[in-house]
Amino acid sequence: MQQITAGTFVALSPEILAFVSSMLVLMVGIFNPRSVVLTAGLAALGSLVTFAATVVLLAIGFQGSFFGDGYVVDDFALYFKLIVVLSAFFTVLAAARWAGRTGDAPEYLALTLSVALGAMLLVSMRDLFGVFVSIELATIPSYALVAFDRRRRESPEGGMKYILTGMVASSILLYGTVLIYGVAGSANLTLVATTFAGTLSPVGLLGLVLLISGFAFKVSAVPFHYWTPDAYQGAPTSAAAFLSVAPKAATFAALLRILLQGMPEAVSTWAPVMAVLAIATMFVGNLFALRQRNVRRMLAYSSVAHSGYVLAAFAALQGAGTDVAVQAVLIYSAAYMVMNLGAFFMIDLVGEDGKSFNGLFVTRPSVALCMAVFMAALVGIPPFSGFFGKVWIIAAGVQSGSIAAYLAVAALVVNSVLSVPYYFGITRNVFFEEPLASTEEPKGTGAIKFSVYVLAVATTLFALFIGPLAGLAGISSGLL
């Protein structure tokens, strides 16, 4: 049994900081209920400090495994922690004013930080039960976040649909975990790998199927995506933005670790399953998004489609494509974070009806340009961020040398074309429609505008980051 040393605390420092700041926000909020600036400032500061700690760990090349090999810190995990913490930071900025008006800002911000905490733990777990518990730590607060806005009737409804389906999915995931634990005699991925090396026993296969189904639910892959549009439409905008990025990226990371480290020999079993999931998810997401008039719901279906794109990289996790596929997941997660957070925050700046974007270029040109950037990035037009994510996935698929991965990549290309009408429908409204006659004050606060501008710049100049990111991803693909 390993000793707990100072190194353990260094390894856990980002999580400890996130936990402390979430508790601090809650406590300070209780004693200063009116001071939104204080609580939101603390939450933002907490996520920045956590970010700094993660960057330091990455910079000094800290690596190791802790708690009897159940918890690993490697570049792969740290990279995803950066994505989670950054999106938590922007979410706190965007949520501050809205949360203040509900009167429950401390609770809202503390819940956001605990989702981030769960996601950060999740990417480091190398123990199946650890994965389950941290997924739940990320999911249970997110139920509360979705149902948070009691003034809108959609919000508790979305929350209830999310929680009912989410709990069924959790028990399916847990059943899969327990069956794999039973077959392997251990929940540690290294030991699971030896069991999955030979021919699979029926129980092991059932466990794998149940595990993948549970994960498919958490990343809203078809046919387990039904909760996504309702939950995101009901949720407060900042919560929808955060949930569509941070926990999802972390869940993909955990799935990647389980498949690559826990069952690398069973690749011929799970890679085709991933390809089928990917193709179905892309088509369903995009076809349903085409029909939406509500921007929030459209973005929810768009996030389903983007999950499909990432799953295409999972289908390519074999042969010569493995390293590139891991890189593709890493780069896509970063690219998706900047463009999707921004696109969701636009709803808080403009409105959730597609018509409210009419003539935005005339009335608020800078905001309109940001919207155009985010939409172009989500389609995958160069030089915006989404393009690079898709290029990496295509490269991985081509190198993988498997028919299923080729099909998934072909479906990705077809779907990118399919998604053009609904993304550019909004862009057309922004530039070519007459503005609605309205006396309303322009919505949004300085903090949201700041986040949107920063994210738009990051989306546009993603090519500049791609060098360091790819370098980082190159190291990261060597999972510890």
Binding site: F132, Y143, R150, E157, I163, L164, V168, S170, Y175, D230
Partner: protein
């Protein structure tokens, strides 16, 4: 004859027995969660599913040679997680009930498509 019957009663129950009971409980819970319309009853069915998994878990933990009894610790974690889920779930159901005076999942359908 009688002695043989008594011997059978005293023999240890094989691992498969627990697993089959667990699987049947899980299936009943899943079926209930799909067909029942009252949100609170759905929660009860989900609890049944989680407890079925827990039964398999402790059975594995007891029978596996290398597990070292760690499964029982995991089972406690699962119980804690289930309690937390139910707490949040009932709070959300209460919030829905306040605005609509119903917890029937078929009537709660503001959002579609």
């Amino acid at each position: 004859m009688l002695q043989q019957f008594l011997d059978t009663l005293n023999a240890t129950i094989p691992l498969e027995g627990y697993l089959v009971v667990g699987a049947i409980m899980f299936a009943i819970g899943a079926w209930g969660a799909l067909i029942r319309r009252n949100a609170v009853v759905v929660f009860m069915c989900i609890e049944l599913m989680l407890n079925a998994v827990n039964l398999s878990l402790v059975a594995f933990a007891d029978y596996l040679p290398n597990a070292g009894g760690a499964g029982a610790g995991y089972a406690v974690l699962v119980i804690a997680v289930a309690a937390a889920e139910i707490a949040v779930g009932l709070a959300v159901v209460l919030a829905v009930y306040r605005t609509r005076k119903t917890v029937n999942v078929d009537d709660i359908n503001l959002m579609k498509g």
